[in-house]
């Protein structure tokens, strides 16, 4: 904790960044909240612990945060992967963000995308063993069972769009659900509308999702929508070899055209 605070203070007082986006204590002992440290005093409130899981990279694209100047963002591997995916999608220029990578109480300052790439290259890729086991468990069920599971889960969706708001890669200025001329996605929070919304969202993130889990954590109905993203991430990996957020040069599956594409319909 002290290492993180000291690092944040030196970045802020030295003028290297104008804001450090990290975590502070929340309403209850098991809750943490995003904290925007803009002074050495502010930095004393930074903490990091087991429950600090929200992907704070989501704030880097907010106009209010951009207006503060250069930012440092605290996080683990999925936050770092978000930065590289932002780079791929031309959302942030190199050198405009500092990553404070936390691991086992140590803090590493990464000031360029190349440094983030190198850092991630030395760490395990893909799903954790726990996530993989969970996906395999789901995949092992019959199609009928999975349909029943998702129908029941998505029926609970209240269309508050907390998943979309918490997702750093759901940054469209105007989401497709907000278009009504024509109306692409049914607005009613009924079984059909909810299914369509969640599938559209999952598809838009296919090959882009960095598996931070912020969508599911944000869901007030505790729907494990991240599982849909994980399945599609695996699918994108198998079909196109695309694993989001490990390289600034990676082209993501759904936005690339190649004359020698394996699908004939696109050629």
């Amino acid at each position: 904790m002290e290492l993180l605070r000291d690092k944040a203070k030196s970045l802020l007082t030295g003028g290297a960044v104008q804001v450090v986006i990290g975590y502070a204590a929340g309403s209850a002992t098991d809750r943490f909240r995003p904290h925007f440290a803009r002074s050495a005093d502010d930095a004393d409130r930074l903490i990091f612990g087991e429950g600090c899981r929200q992907n704070l990279a989501v704030y880097l694209l907010k106009p209010e945060v951009r207006a503060m100047g250069k930012a440092a963002v605290v996080g683990g591997p999925t936050t770092l992967r978000t930065l590289l995916q932002y780079a791929v999608e031309n959302q942030i220029a190199d050198g405009l963000v500092v990553a404070l990578a936390l691991e086992d109480g140590r803090v590493e300052e990464l000031t360029s995308f190349a440094a983030v790439e190198e850092y991630l290259a030395q760490r395990p890729h893909g799903l954790s063993d726990g996530d993989r086991a969970e996906l395999e468990q789901h995949a092992a069920r019959s199609q009928k069972d999975r349909w029943a599971y998702w129908s029941a889960e998505l029926a609970r969706c209240i269309r508050c769009y907390a998943c979309r708001a918490a997702c750093p890669l759901c940054y469209c200025e105007q989401c497709i659900t907000e278009n009504n001329q024509p109306q692409w996605v049914p607005v009613a929070s009924d079984a059909f509308g909810n299914l369509e919304w969640n599938v559209v969202r999952a598809m838009h993130l296919a090959g882009r999702c960095v598996n931070c889990g912020s969508c599911a954590a944000a869901c007030p109905e505790n729907i494990r929508i991240d599982l849909l993203n994980q399945v599609l991430a695996q699918e994108a990996m198998t079909q196109f070899g695309a694993e989001a957020g490990y390289s600034v040069r990676k082209e993501y599956a759904l936005s690339v055209f190649k004359p020698d594409d394996k699908e004939t319909f696109i050629r």
């Binding site: 209850a28 904290h35 209010e64 508050c160 769009y161 607005v187 009613a188 944000a218 007030p220």
Partner: protein, 341 residues
């Protein structure tokens, strides 16, 4: 018309059965996987106990997430419009918290202030609220700051207070409450002075601010852009707070059309959404999140008290529990209220 009596908890099943025989649908907090939701219990032991608050409010009973307002079908030049009949099933809402019971007054004030809303009125008229006092609270509860309390009778037709593991003190408060109790009068025994023990079992919910006082001078904070900005910096602009809120009543009307036929829907909406105030011209009068946050606070704590004479917040704490970034309404309002001193 408050009358107190004693109801044995073991006789709840008999009472619920009597309600069923009288054609009432019963909705109560029921455990489903890891959550407590409002559903029809199949047996009295299905009704959840020992929880502080349900994640979702019960407002959907009178104001569902979406309503079908009309159906339309075009046949050449001819347009046929059909209004669906208003279905209002007689319903007993059992086991809600006093804050939830109080929330119906706010909804009523909104839905009846000019031209009464037919859907709301029909559902409200067929609703009986049997609430249960709170014997525990958590760090998000602040009913006592907004005129409520863990044993408040406001908005309830009957309020039950658990005196011990076996008995409830039943306060029958309205005609609807009398009708519900009259379904099984043999279950209610004289209270014999037990009403005096009610206060002893109630949760201690600290007063964090005085909403009535606060409403007087909150308008003077309107231009404190710095404060609104600082409070809302972490807000992501989703609708979780509004959708779990028992008093948030904003809706959006949309036509869903497939070729020449469709439906007009009104769906829950939230002032936290950017789209909420976006004009067709592209201009947005609340163009940043801090202005949307200010609207949320002002609407609940200034505009509604001033214009409708009700508090726009019952202090249930749901918004704060549901918020993905720990925006704590009670804490934020306390901070604002301390700015006056």
């Amino acid at each position: 018309m408050s009358e107190s009596s004693i109801l044995q908890r073991a006789s709840l099943g008999a009472w619920l059965e009597a309600m069923g025989r009288a054609g009432q649908r019963v909705l109560a907090p029921v455990r489903e996987a890891d959550r407590v939701v409002f559903a029809t219990p199949s047996a009295p032991d299905q009704i959840a106990t020992g929880f502080v608050q349900t994640p979702a409010s019960a407002k959907a009973v009178v104001f569902p997430p979406y309503d079908e307002m009309l159906r339309f079908r075009a046949n050449g030049e001819d347009v046929h419009v059909e209004e669906p009949s208003i279905a209002a099933e007689p319903t007993v809402l059992f086991g809600v918290r006093p804050c939830d019971a109080a929330s119906f007054a706010t909804l009523r004030a909104v839905f009846t202030w000019d031209s009464p809303d037919a859907w709301f009125e029909a559902r409200m008229a067929s609703l009986t609220v049997i609430s249960v006092s709170c014997t525990q609270c958590d760090e998000y509860c602040f009913c006592t700051s907004v005129g409520g309390g863990p044993g408040s009778t406001q908005g309830s037709d009957i309020l039950l207070t658990p005196l011990d593991d076996r008995r409830w003190l039943a306060e029958v408060l309205t005609e609807k409450g009398q009708a519900a109790a009259a379904l099984a009068p043999q279950l209610f025994a004289p209270a014999n002075g037990e009403a005096a023990n009610k206060e002893k079992v109630l949760a201690h919910v600290p007063v964090r601010f005085e909403a009535k006082e606060f409403a007087q001078w909150l308008p003077s904070l309107f231009d404190r852009t710095d404060v609104w900005k600082e409070q809302s910096l972490r807000c992501l602009g989703c609708g979780a707070c509004a959708f779990v809120c028992p008093t948030c009543s904003c809706f959006d009307i949309q036509d869903e059309r497939v070729r020449d036929q469709g439906t007009r829907l009104r769906c829950w909406d939230s002032c936290g959404f950017r789209l909420f105030t976006l004009h067709a011209s592209g201009h947005n009068p609340r163009h940043v999140q801090s202005e949307r946050w200010r609207q949320r606070v002002m609407h609940k704590f200034s505009y509604q008290p001033e214009r409708l004479g009700v508090t726009g917040c019952v202090g249930c704490g749901r918004c704060s529990r549901a918020c993905p970034v720990d925006m704590n309404l009670g804490e934020h309002v306390r901070m604002l209220s301390e700015m006056s001193v």
